[in-house]
C-alpha cells in the first residue's frame, strides 16, 4: 500500500529519510547518510544567528575566564542579522506572498528553518541544477524531483512488465483452449496496447529526460541558463520573517499595517497566521499542507529529517466541518502516518490593522488569540478488543 501510493513521492514524505528508494539511488542517500548531511546543512532552526561562546574547557582556567567574560558581555552586544530582500509580484494574478530573487538568500531561508518554496520545484529551489543537468550543462547531486521521477519511471516499467507477463499467461491459456470470453477480450486489448506502446516508445518516459525542447533552447543565453526560479514565501512566512524575526525586507512595504492589509485581507488569513505563529514560536517547522488537503503540515524539525507529524486544518471557533470532509482527510492523512488535527482559533475577527503601528502592538494583538487543538482519528472497535 505504502509503496503503491503515488503521493508517497510528494515533497513531504519523499524527501524524508524514510523514503524507499531503489538500490541505485539509495546508495547516494542512505538513511543515515542523509540524516548526517541534513544535520550539517540545516544547522539553524531559524534564519537568525546566535552569539556564540568560546569553547569551555573546565580544567583550563584561562578558558573558564574567557568563557565567563564572553557570557557576561555577549548578551549586551548587538548581533546584526542578515536581512533578506523580497518583492511582491503585482503582475501574477493574485499569487499572494513574497518572492526572494537572490539565490543565496533563497538557499539560506530554505536551509534555516525551511521557509519558502522554489517556484519551479516541489520544495527546495533546485530547478537550476536540475535543468542544467537535464540539458547536459552541469553535474552534481540528484535532486528530490529526479529521484521521484526515477522511481515513477521504474514503476511504469514494472507495470509494463507485468502486462507482458499477463499477456504471456493469456496466450498460454489460449493455446490450452481454456480462454473465457473476458480473457479473450483482455488478450485482444493487451496485444493492441503492446503494439501501440512500441510505436510510442520514442515518446516514452525514460526518453523524455534527455530530449531538448524549443522551450529549453530559449532559456540558454551565451551558454548559460537563465535563472528562472525564485523562492516563494507564503504570506504567513513573509509576515513571520518580517515582523517577528526582522530578517526580511519587502519592496514597497513600509509599515506593519500595510503588510497585514496586503497579506491577510480576510479573517481566515489572520486565523491561519495565528496557528502558524503558535507552532513556529514553539520551535516546530510549519509548511503549507495543500498536498494533503489541509492548511498546514507540522514537522518536528523539517522535511529532510522526518515526515510531518501533524496535518492541521485551521477552523474558526464557530467552525462546523462536515463529517464527510473530516473522514476523507483522516484517511488521506493517516495513510501518510500523520495525525489529523483541527486547530480552532477561539476568536474569529482579525484585529483592526490600523491600530497596529509597531511590533509591540502586533504582539499585543496576537496575544488576544488563543487556540484549541483537537486530533481526530479513526477508531476500529474490532481491533481494540484487548
Amino acid at each position: 500500500m505504502v509503496s503503491d501510493d503515488p503521493f508517497f513521492n510528494s515533497t513531504d514524505s519523499g524527501s524524508g529519510p524514510g523514503i524507499q528508494l531503489d538500490g541505485r539511488f539509495l546508495k547516494t542517500t542512505t538513511n543515515k547518510g542523509y540524516n548526517k548531511r541534513a544535520k550539517d546543512v540545516y544547522v539553524l532552526p531559524l534564519p537568525f544567528s546566535l552569539n556564540s561562546l568560546p569553547a569551555l574547557i573546565p580544567h583550563n582556567p584561562l578558558s573558564v575566564f574567557m568563557y565567563t567574560v564572553a557570557l557576561l558581555s555577549k548578551p549586551l552586544r548587538f548581533t546584526t542579522q542578515k536581512r533578506h530582500k523580497a518583492y511582491i509580484d503585482s503582475t501574477s494574478q493574485g499569487t499572494p506572498g513574497a518572492f526572494v530573487p537572490d539565490l543565496q538568500s533563497a538557499m539560506e531561508l530554505w536551509q534555516q528553518g525551511f521557509f519558502g518554496k522554489g517556484t519551479l520545484s516541489r520544495s527546495e529551489p533546485s530547478w537550476f541544477g536540475r535543468t542544467s543537468r537535464r540539458l547536459g550543462l552541469d553535474g552534481g547531486e540528484l535532486t528530490l524531483e529526479e529521484i521521484t521521477e526515477a522511481r515513477r519511471a521504474k514503476r511504469r516499467k514494472f507495470k509494463k512488465e507485468r502486462e507482458q507477463q499477463q499477456l504471456l499467461e493469456l496466450k498460454q491459456k489460449q493455446k490450452e483452449g481454456v480462454l473465457n470470453p473476458a480473457d479473450a477480450n483482455l488478450l485482444d486489448k493487451n496485444e493492441k496496447k503492446q503494439i501501440e506502446d512500441n510505436e510510442n516508445n520514442a515518446a516514452d518516459s525514460d526518453a523524455v529526460v534527455t530530449k531538448v525542447r524549443k522551450e529549453d533552447t530559449d532559456l540558454i543565453k551565451d551558454g548559460v541558463i537563465e535563472k528562472l526560479e525564485t523562492l516563494h514565501l507564503h504570506p504567513c512566512e513573509a509576515v513571520f520573517l518580517c515582523v517577528c524575526l526582522g530578517v526580511l525586507e519587502i519592496d514597497g512595504i513600509e509599515t506593519i499595517q500595510q503588510l497585514l492589509q496586503t497579506f491577510f485581507p480576510e479573517d481566515s488569513d489572520w486565523q491561519k497566521y495565528v496557528v502558524y505563529h503558535y507552532f513556529r514560536s514553539l520551535g516546530w517547522c510549519v509548511r503549507d499542507g495543500i498536498k494533503f488537503g489541509v492548511d498546514w503540515l507540522i514537522y518536528k524539525q523539517g522535511p529532510p529529517f522526518q515526515h510531518a507529524e501533524f496535518a492541521v486544518s485551521v477552523q474558526p471557533s464557530s467552525g462546523r466541518p462536515d463529517w464527510w470532509w473530516l473522514h476523507a482527510n483522516m484517511r488521506v492523512v493517516n495513510n501518510a502516518k500523520k495525525a489529523m488535527t483541527l486547530v480552532y482559533v477561539t476568536k474569529e475577527e482579525r484585529p483592526d490593522y490600523t491600530k497596529i503601528s509597531n511590533v509591540a502592538a502586533f504582539r499585543k494583538a496576537l496575544s488576544q488569540y488563543t487556540v484549541k487543538i483537537l486530533t481526530f482519528s479513526r477508531f476500529t472497535p474490532s481491533r481494540c478488543r484487548d
Binding site: P45, L76, A182, Y278, W323, V359, I373, S377, P381
Partner: protein
C-alpha cells in the same frame, strides 16, 4: 487494500469459514459465466443464512415483559450470564433498556411479551425503536456483537466522578509522586496563556517601537530564549465547570473486563452517538471534553506527547446504518526547543 476490508460488501461464501479472510473481488462485471456463477453462489449463501429460523432450547430462553408505562423490559427470571453485564436491578426486579431488549431478542436469547402475548422480533423492534433511535441501537449492537460490555452512562452516573478521580492515580508512573507533579505542571504550562516576565514587558514597552522584531534582546545565546520571546499565542485553558450534568451515551468495556454491575470499573471508551451531518461545534466538543477520559501523558518526546494528548472520547457517527467511530483527543503542542 484497506479500503475494502470494512466497506460493508462481504462475500457471503466466506461465512462460517474464516471470517477474517478476505474475499477475492473482481474489478467489474464482464459478462462471463464464471463471474455470474460465483455471484449467484454468494447470494444463495446469504439468502439461506438469512432464512434459517432462530431456534433456541426452551431451557435457556430468557423471558421478559414489556412495561408499556416505563417503556423498558422487565425480566421474569434471571437466566444465563447476560445479566452480569446487562440491565439493572430495582426492587428485586431486573429491568432492561429497549436496546437491550432488542439485542437479546434478535440474538434469539430472549422472548418478550406484551400483555402476555409473545412478540416476534419484528414486534419487539417496532415497539422498542419508538424509544431509542435506530442510530442508538446500531451503536449498541455493534459493540455487543464484538463482545464488548456496553452500559448506558445514566446507569453509571453516580460512579463517574469517583472513576474520574481514580484515572490520574492509575497512571503507570510509580517512580515518585513528585516527578508526577512536575509533569502535570509542565502540561499545565502548555495549556496556560503566556505572560512574559515583567522585565520583558517593560523592555517591549520601552523598546517595542525601536526594535522591529519580537527578538528584542541585543543578542541570543540559545534558541530557546528566542523562541520564548516569539511566544504570543497560547492554548486556551479549559474552563473546568464543576457540575457534571453532561454525560456520555455509552460506557464501553473491553471483552475481558471483570465487570460488576454494583461497582463498575473505569470504562475503556466513552461514546457519544451523533448523526452524520455535521461535526458538533467547538463549545459542544469542549463540554464533552470536560467529562472525557484523562490521559496520563508523561512522554518526553514532544511528538509522542502531542499525539497522545490530554483527554479523549469517541464519537460514533452513524450514516444510514454504517457506523464510523472517531476518536477525539484534546492536545497542545509542547515546545520543541
Amino acid at each position: 487494500m484497506e479500503s475494502d476490508s470494512d466497506d460493508g460488501g462481504q462475500d457471503w461464501t466466506l461465512l462460517g469459514a474464516n471470517v477474517l479472510k478476505r474475499g477475492e473481488k473482481d474489478h467489474a462485471p464482464d459478462g462471463t459465466v464464471i463471474q455470474q456463477t460465483q455471484l449467484q453462489k454468494s447470494r444463495e449463501v446469504m439468502y439461506t443464512a438469512l432464512s434459517e429460523p432462530v431456534v433456541i432450547s426452551e431451557k435457556n430462553l430468557v423471558e421478559a415483559d414489556w412495561d408499556s408505562v416505563r417503556n423498558i423490559g422487565r425480566v421474569r427470571k434471571q437466566k444465563g450470564t447476560f445479566f452480569m453485564t446487562m440491565g439493572w436491578s430495582e426492587h428485586e426486579n431486573v429491568y432492561l433498556y429497549p436496546e437491550e431488549v432488542i439485542y437479546l431478542c434478535q440474538r434469539g436469547s430472549m422472548r418478550c411479551y406484551l400483555n402476555n402475548e409473545p412478540l416476534s422480533v419484528e414486534g419487539v423492534m417496532s415497539i422498542c425503536l419508538k424509544y431509542v433511535s435506530t442510530e442508538w441501537y446500531d451503536v449498541y449492537s455493534n459493540f455487543k456483537k464484538l463482545g464488548f460490555i456496553v452500559r448506558r452512562c445514566e446507569l453509571e452516573t453516580r460512579k463517574v466522578s469517583k472513576a474520574q478521580v481514580s484515572t490520574t492515580q492509575t497512571v503507570p508512573s510509580q517512580k515518585s509522586g513528585r516527578k508526577n507533579d512536575n509533569e502535570i505542571k509542565k502540561i499545565k504550562n502548555e495549556l496556560s496563556v503566556y505572560y512574559p516576565p515583567i522585565i520583558t514587558r517593560i523592555a517591549w514597552f520601552l523598546l517595542g517601537s525601536r526594535f522591529n522584531s519580537f527578538a528584542w534582546r541585543p543578542s541570543y545565546i540559545v534558541y530557546s530564549t528566542l523562541f520564548k520571546d516569539l511566544t504570543a499565542v497560547k492554548v486556551r485553558q479549559n474552563i473546568d465547570v464543576a457540575p457534571q450534568k453532561e454525560r456520555f451515551d455509552f460506557f464501553v468495556y473491553k471483552p475481558g473486563t471483570k465487570f460488576k454491575k454494583s461497582d463498575p470499573p473505569e470504562a475503556d471508551y466513552r461514546i457519544r452517538v451523533v448523526s452524520a451531518d455535521q461535526v458538533p461545534e467547538l463549545n459542544k466538543i469542549e463540554k464533552e471534553l470536560q467529562i472525557a477520559q484523562k490521559v496520563g501523558n508523561f512522554y518526553k518526546d514532544p511528538v509522542k506527547r502531542m499525539r497522545l494528548g490530554y483527554r479523549t472520547f469517541i464519537y460514533a457517527v452513524v450514516d444510514n446504518g454504517v457506523i464510523s467511530y472517531v476518536k477525539v483527543t484534546e492536545t497542545g503542542a509542547p515546545s520543541v526547543y
